[in-house]
Every structure is written in C-alpha cells, then in structure tokens.
C-alpha cells in the first residue's frame, strides 16, 4: 500500500510542473500590457519600461519561469501585481470559501445521490425508479449557471426567502447561520449535476450487485434485506460509487466557478477570473496550481480508497 501511495504521489510532481508551464506560456501569449494597466494611459514609456523591468517582465521567458519556480518551491508565492497583496494571503481565504461551497455541495450530492439511488435500485421499474431516471437525466443536462439564475428568481426575488448573492450579509459578518442562508442556493445549484450522476451510478451499481449469483442465492435462502445489503451488496457496489463521488469533488472544486460568478461567491473561481483578466500572473499561477493539486490529490485519494477496498486493483 505504501509503495502504491508513494508512487502515485511522486507522479503528482511532473503533472504540477506541466500545469505551471502551460499556465505560464498561456499567460505570456495573452495580449495586453501589464504596465499600461498598472500605470494608466498617461504613463510615459520610460515609466512603463521601468515597471516591466522591476517586475522582471523584460527577462527571457525561461529565466522568468525559473525564478518563479525557485521562489515557489521555497514556499514564496510572491506578491499580486494588481493588488500588492501577498499571494498566499489573498488566495488562501478564497480557497477556504470555495471549499465551503464545494464541501456543502458534495454533502448535498451524496445525501441525495446515495439515498435516492439506493431507493430506486431496490424498487426497479417502479414509478419512483422511472421518475428518478428522468429527473437525473434532466438534472445532468441543466446548465448550472442557468439553474442558479432560476433559483435566484424563485427563492430570492419572488419569495424572498434567501439572499440573492454573496457569502455573508452585506453589513458584515453574520456568523455561521448567515453563511448557511447564503450557502443554500449556490450549493443546490452546484450539487444538482453531481447529485444526478451519483444517483445513477449508485442505482446501477447496486442493481448490478443485486443481480450477482451469490446474492441471488442468499436472497433465495431468505436472508433479510437489510443483512443482504450490508453483507453482500453494498461492499461490491462501492468502488465505482466512490470513484464517481471523488470525481465529483474534483469537478466541484474547479467547476463551481460559474456558480461563484452567478452568486458573487468570493471563492477561487472569481479570483481566478479576475486575475486572468488583470494579467496578475502570480495569482493566476497560485490559484491554478492549488485547484489542480486538489483535483489530482482527490483522484489519488479515490484510487487509494478503492485499492483498500479491493487490493487486486493495485496491479491495474
């Protein structure tokens, strides 16, 4: 197990390296001059040249990248060009906000997906099952940003039950309950798609497991359903369910971006969008790496859990 984990973790490094190189190149391909933006339209050419020099933007690309890499490896993510804030200090709170939204959405998706999926599997071909299939298909095809707007229209504008946007009340920090009120709509918006996928996966995995010969035998022997599920079905159905759940977490981490935009949720997505449009390279790099790293680590965690459940997979 240790070797498996070590091997996988070692594989993270080249991936992260590749991600940072791609972002670096992409940002340099981008048109638009940081100096003009920072100094305003009236700045002299001399001032712009000096600023580019001060920011090291006049150096050859590989050198710029090398310097960035060296600093980053030592844990220094630099200073945001646009806001003059320490990048780590800027990015970390946003990351936590995104995490709040992500985890809440994931929990919601799991609660809905596991319970509805299990229920539908046990009542195959029932009305409930058919409705579930239809609803999950619909939910899986719904554009999340659009769904968010529809929910805002219904619950925030028409009914006024919930706030329209933001993470806390505009007047200040309203505490956990306040965050919770603000969390409901974005979490539902983000969770719906993943919930649909998890539901379908749970449903089909459980049914496949129920169909296996030894389960049929056990059932024929008159084993009670609760015991049957616990002993024979759930464990067998679990690996694909865990895989799909983990993948959803990865998706939620990055893809909540659109939800964050719709609800003005102060997360990484909005920060990334702002810093790309401001050509704020240090922030873009730190944000992307953080999201990619989380994504890769979640994927590894999923693999590890699956290996723990079924050691045969280690060879695969």
């Amino acid at each position: 197990m240790g070797r498996f984990l070590g091997h996988r973790l070692l594989g993270v490094l080249p991936v992260m390296f590749g991600v940072s190189v791609i972002i670096f190149i992409l940002m340099h391909l981008a048109p638009g001059d940081v100096a003009t933006v920072l100094l305003g339209p009236q700045a002299t050419e001399v001032a712009k040249t000096e600023l580019r020099h001060a920011l090291g933007l006049d150096q050859p690309l590989p050198l710029q990248y090398g310097k960035w890499l060296l600093r980053t490896v030592t844990g220094d993510f630099g200073t945001s060009i646009a806001t003059q804030l320490n990048v780590a200090a800027l990015v970390l709170p946003r990351f936590l906000n995104t995490l709040v939204l992500t985890v809440a959405s994931l929990l919601l998706a799991i609660v809905i997906g596991y319970s509805v999926g299990l229920f539908a599997a046990l009542r195959a071909r029932s009305v409930f099952d058919r409705v579930t299939i239809t609803v999950t298909l619909l939910a899986g095809s719904t554009p999340p940003f659009w769904l968010g707007l529809i929910l805002v229209l219904l619950f925030a504008i028409r009914l006024r039950w919930l706030p329209v946007s933001g993470m806390v009340d505009m007047a200040g920090d309203g505490g956990a309950l306040d965050v919770l009120r603000h969390l409901v709509l974005p979490a539902v918006t983000t969770a719906l798609g993943p919930a649909a996928i998890i539901t379908r996966m749970v449903r089909s995995s459980i049914r496949e497991a129920l169909d296996r010969p030894h389960v049929r035998v056990a059932r024929a022997k008159g084993l009670k359903r609760g015991a049957l599920l616990r002993r024979h079905v759930i464990l067998n159905a679990l690996p694909p369910i865990i895989t799909i759940t983990g993948l959803q977490l990865g998706y939620l981490l990055g893809g909540a971006l659109l939800t964050e935009v719709v609800f003005a949720w102060p997360g990484l997505g909005a920060l990334l969008y702002d810093s790309i449009t401001a050509r704020d390279m240090p922030v873009v790099q730190a944000t992307t790496l953080l999201i990619a790293l989380s994504f890769v680590l979640v994927n590894i965690a999923v693999d590890v859990i699956n290996v723990l459940l079924d050691p045969r997979l280690r060879e695969a």
């Binding site: 003009t36 339209p41 009236q42 929990l107 006024r160 039950w161 329209v164 009340d169 007047a171």
Partner: protein, 521 residues
C-alpha cells in the same frame, strides 16, 4: 460536524424565512459599486472607483468641493492649504497650510509632511521617491521645477512654465497628489500604503477584504465638519443584476451604475434616482486617420451624421444619458451645452459616402472593450451605420487587452475605437487630440493632428481668465469637430439609485462623491 452542516443546510429554508433581512449598526451606509477599487494609495492608482473611496480618506492642498450639484464644475476650494498665492508670471505657487491638522495615525500635518509627499511622487533623487507614484501623478508632476519649505506652515512650489490648469490637473483620476502620512510610509514602506491608507480625511480606513468589501469609519478628529455617518461599507458587486437585487432586498442603500432598463422600475418602487447633468467625461469614438477610408473627411462626417444619438440617449440610457456633439466634457468650465455639430442625418451621410466613392458600401472595423453590458450602444451604432451602407465589424476585447490597444494607437486596418473618459479640466482634450499626444506620447489613439488645434491648446492653459479660457477651448472644439476627428456620442448622467433612507447625497460634476455630508434615517 459535516453531517450536521448538511442537515442544517436542508432546513435553512425554514430558518431563512424567519430571520430579518439583516441587522446592522445604526449609521452604517452600504454601497454597491460596479467595480472593485484597485489599491487605496492615491499616488499610485488609476481608476475612478478607487477615488470614490480615497476621496473620503485623503485630502490634497486644494480640493474640489463636491457638496454642490448645480455648478458647471466643482469649485476649487482650500483643503489642507488654507490659501495659495500664484505669482504674476504663473509659475510660483505659495501654499499656506492648515494648522492643527493631524493624520489618522496622529502624525502632525505640516510643511515637512507636504515636502515628504512631493518627494514621494516627484523627486527622483529623494530616498522617499516612489517610482510607481510618479508614473501616475505625472500630469501634475511634469510641471514641477522645485518644492521648498518656506516656514513650518508654508510651502512654495515652482513650475517649469505657467499652467493655470495645474491645480485642477492634480485632482483627476490617474494619480492624485493627496497628502499621505509620512510616518505611515516610513512604517509600512512605499508599497505598504496600499494596504495602510492613512490620510487626513473625514473618514479613516478600517478594513479591506479584497474583492469583498472595504470598510471606512468616521474620523472623530477631523479638522472640518465631521462626517455624519459612523461607517461606510463599500461592496464591489460587479454584476448589475446583483446590485439591483441587493438594493431591493435592503442589503445595500446606494448603488452606482444601475442597469438602464431597471431604473424606472426602481423609482416606481420608491427608490430615489440621482443624476448629474455635468459629469466630467463623455463617451466618444476615436476615428483612425491612418485608416484609408477614415482619412477621407467625408467618411468621418458621414459617420458622425449616421448615428442617432438622441435615440440612444432615450431608448438605451432611458434618459439618463445626453446626446453629445462636441469633445469638451461637461463638468469643465469650458463646456457649452449649446454646442452643435453634426445632426442625425442618415440621408446626408449616404450622400457624403457616395461622394467619397463608397456608394456601394464600406466595411470598417470597430474595436471596443467588453463591459459586460452586452455592448448595446455599440450594436446600436453598428445598426445605424449599416443603414447608411457601412458594414461595421465589432471587435470586442477584455479590458486589459483593450487598454493596450487603445493606448497604443490603432493600426491602419482598424477604423475606430471607443472609450468613456474625461476630466474636470478642459486640458484633458490635449491628451486625446494633440499631434504630440500620438501614442506613446499620449492617447491620441486615432493619430489626429491639426497644428491649429495645438496652437489654441497651448494658449488655453496660459489663460488665467476663465471666460477667455473658455472661449479658446471652444474654438479648439470647433476646429476638432470641423475636422470630424472624433464621434462624440453620449454623456452618461451618472445615475445613482438610493434607498429613501439616505439623506443629503449630492451627485456633483465629478466621478466621485463627498460622503461626509450623507446621513441615514
């Protein structure tokens, strides 16, 4: 814990229904702004959204009085200087400083503090010099020859040449020479002022959560009339729909730049609309003299005649905009509301185009920035031009890219680009229209050049008499429009929508406001 959170989320609908919308401290005003302020160091920043905040925290030697709405331009009044004296040749300014003023950190304001600030944004030989500040405050500092302390409460600034717009030029966006606490600069460093903005103004800085909010509170030791509000929370709400929703749900009390189509509904719902007839900027199109088609004056005139400005003002701006026919901004002493140039005349435009040899149509490229408003004004213009036979391709760039393209000047394949800009000094016209303002010397993005205009503009800043100055600028304006060098389009009347609880708000002829006179019921 995680599970509990999930359960709570499920029942939050019920909780939410029973809670009041929000509970907030008395005297706290929350303002939904369309953009985030960049950094709060007034010497080293550009945007108007920033000065809407820094105006409350910092003051200059002279300041613009923003407590009056019904004036042509904001009166220039004593700020941290109680008076100033200008030598007969116009080159020496002697400032008498206001006694008894303290910065928010307790540092005394005196001639040494003023000198320190000039060193920071102007004097390259000083250890206090800050390169970035000079790059921004350049419109002001490029005139300075020397700064001397006469006595602890008197400072003398000598200019390289006379310029009677100089004080006003220092109070525009893109770098203002406002007074920053020298102690704060020493303590936090030049870069640190952005995070520790310490001035002398009626409000002092409390807290900043980048992208989420900026909080300022009343300065109890203010030298002038203290602010009425206890606290102001500035919330960047980029999405217009979010701003409207927040206002209607009582979460904010003021929003700027409301969506035009929502204004009437908000007014009907009991909110107050405030507009300013004299905003110091206009929206206009640079026409590119390097483009072969545009080089023909008949084409430039035709474009000017083809656009239904009144229609745009009425139908898109919903009467919070005004058709504009000249290039001088309202909000300056030189503006003439009666100035007329090319009236809407699509048939005349067609005729001119035919004369220019484009009877069978013309294809032009129009570059613009992506504002997030759906670019409805530009698409309207595109339709108007189509009607006279000009096919316009809109090329939209996100802001940063666009800034570079606009400030760098247009290439010959581009016909026009657009921006909304201006200042409360008519000397702004220099930056976009002088021959030597061609990029990179300035932002004459369309490479317009008329020596006669330059001569008039040279004379204008040397004119101390306001009436005569106005006359010269009007002549320049006439020449520019005779050349059809630009297409002035629409003034935005700076609509602000307020909760009826907000009292005393004044929408002055400036891009920012004095919030010390505002109160809440």
């Amino acid at each position: 814990m995680a599970l509990r959170a999930g359960l709570l989320a499920a029942s939050a609908l019920a909780i939410a229904a029973t809670l009041p919308v929000s509970a907030r401290a008395a005297g706290t005003l929350i303002w939904g702004m369309p953009a985030e302020t960049d950094i709060l160091d007034p010497h080293a920043t550009g945007g108007w959204s920033t000065y809407q905040v820094t105006y409350q925290i910092f003051e200059g030697l002279a300041k613009e009085d923003l407590t009056k709405a019904d004036v042509a331009s904001p009166p220039l009044v004593p700020g941290l200087a109680t008076s100033w004296d200008i030598s007969p040749d116009g080159t020496v300014y002697t400032f008498k400083l206001r006694p008894g003023v303290k910065f928010h950190d307790g540092t005394a304001f005196d001639a040494a503090a003023v000198k320190f600030n000039f060193e920071r944004f102007w004097d390259e030989s000083s250890p206090n010099f800050y390169k970035k500040a000079k790059a921004f405050v350049i419109a002001y500092t490029k005139w300075i020859k020397a700064v001397e302390i006469v006595d602890p409460m008197t400072v003398k600034v000598t200019l390289k040449a006379a310029n009677y717009q100089w004080l006003r030029q220092g109070l525009q966006s893109y770098g203002q020479p406002l007074m920053v606490s020298p102690e704060a600069v020493k303590k936090y460093g030049n870069d640190g002022i952005a995070l520790h903005p310490i001035g002398t103004g009626p409000f002092r800085f409390v807290q900043r959560d980048q992208g989420v909010k900026t909080v300022i509170e009343r300065n109890p030791d203010y030298w002038g009339t203290p602010a009425k509000l206890d606290r102001i929370i500035i919330r960047p709400l980029q999405d217009p729909a979010t701003r409207v929703n927040a206002l209607e749900n009582g979460e904010v009390q003021i929003i700027s730049t409301p969506p035009w189509d929502e204004i009437q509904r908000l007014v009907d719902a009991g909110f107050k609309l405030s507009t300013s007839p004299n905003v110091p900027y206009i929206n206009f199109i640079h026409l590119n003299f390097k483009n072969p088609a545009i080089a023909d004056i008949r084409v430039r005139k035709a474009i000017n005649m083809a656009i239904d400005r009144e229609g745009i003002a009425k139908e898109i701006y919903r009467s919070t905009g005004r058709a504009e026919y000249g290039m001088l901004s309202p909000g300056t002493d030189a503006y003439d509301p009666k100035f007329a140039s090319y009236k809407y005349d699509p048939d005349g435009a067609k005729k001119l185009l035919a004369e220019a040899g484009f009877a069978n149509g013309l294809k032009l490229t129009f570059e613009l920035a992506q504002y997030g408003t759906g670019e409805i004004v530009e698409t309207w213009i595109q339709r108007d031009l189509k009607k006279v036979g000009i096919d316009v391709e809109l090329k939209k760039y996100e802001w940063i890219t666009y800034m570079g393209k606009w400030a760098g000047g247009m290439g010959p394949d581009v016909a026009m680009n657009t921006i909304g800009w201006g200042m409360s000094t008519p000397a702004w016209i220099d930056i976009v229209s002088r021959c030597d303002s061609a990029p990179p010397g300035g932002i004459n993005s369309g490479w317009y050049c008329n020596k006669e205009v330059d001569k008039l503009l040279d004379a204008a800043i040397l004119e101390r008499d306001t009436a005569k100055m106005k006359d010269i600028y009007q002549k320049a304006n006439r020449l520019i429009m005779d050349d059809a060098a630009f297409v002035p389009t629409i003034d935005d009347l700076q609509p602000i929508v307020l909760s009826p609880k907000v009292k005393g708000f004044v929408n002055p002829p400036e891009d920012w406001f004095d919030l010390s006179i505002v109160s809440l019921d």
